[in-house]
């Protein structure tokens, strides 16, 4: 049961949230990419051993979606890693 910080509500129990998956590539123009690029966009997500940017939905709270960086090795909520925009 992690403690996640919602931008609106502050720190709340993980059970108030629904996991929204890692933040992947931006959605490409489906009419402008190759089949392989579309498949990669759809099926390949970041899976780092370390900080990952991921989406959460405060479904049992204010209803907001937000993104955080979390270290997949420790569950630590971390700052934006260097070299990442």
């Amino acid at each position: 049961m992690m403690l996640l910080t919602c931008p609106f509500c502050g720190k709340r129990n993980e059970s108030e949230f629904i996991y929204g998956g890692p933040v992947g590539a931006d959605r490409p123009d489906p009419n402008a990419v190759s089949d392989a690029e579309w498949v990669e966009y759809l099926t390949v997500t970041p899976n780092p051993l370390g900080p990952v940017r991921e989406k959460w939905w405060h479904a049992r709270g204010c209803g907001g979606w937000f993104a955080i960086w979390r270290d997949t090795r420790t569950h630590d909520i971390v700052e934006v890693p260097d070299g990442t925009k």
Partner: protein, 165 residues
């Protein structure tokens, strides 16, 4: 009963869901409502009207059911401009009150939120989790008040009965 509490399911309230930017809301409702709460998850009150700020650009107006018609006339949900949303939701929530000496103990069974007075003051109102459901939680005279989606009302009664058996 293992806890010194009173539990009461409340009758319907007049409820309106408001969405949009504060400026757009203020323009539309003019003086019909209390001042918009400034802090997230807090409430303001004027006469019989409560205004809960429960999400980004999101409020709930609460009043006794008898004021529902008047509010409907003042807020004009069907006429409001495109950049705000006003929807009557009076029937969507059912409210419960848990009051008495050990109200906080029973709430601690139901809700993971820190409801200690240093963390959750008299004006606090927020959506959180209660017996696994999304619930609107706040303080009331002598204890706590919360609301869940109306269809879950019987289940909450069931749970509270078990908690205090």
């Amino acid at each position: 009963m293992s806890y010194k509490v009173n539990i009461a399911r409340q009758s319907l309230n007049a409820l309106f869901d408001l969405k949009g930017s504060p400026a757009a809301i203020l323009t539309w409702v003019e003086g019909a409502l209390p001042a918009l709460p400034e802090r997230p998850n807090s409430r303001t009150r004027r006469d019989a009207l409560d205004l809960y700020h429960i999400g980004r650009d999101h409020w709930i107006v609460r009043a006794p059911l008898g004021l529902e018609g008047r509010l409907e006339t003042q807020l004009r949900p069907t006429d409001c401009p495109a950049d705000i949303s006003i929807v009557r939701v009076s029937d969507t929530l059912t409210f419960f009150r848990v009051t008495g000496l050990q109200a906080a103990d029973v709430m601690a069974i139901a809700c993971p939120l820190d409801l200690h007075d240093t963390a959750f003051d008299a004006d606090a109102v927020t959506y959180s989790e209660l017996f696994g459901l999304k619930a609107l939680v706040m303080r009331c005279e002598g204890g706590f008040e919360f609301a869940v989606e109306q269809s879950f009302g019987d289940m909450i009664t069931d749970y509270l009965t078990r908690a205090t058996a």
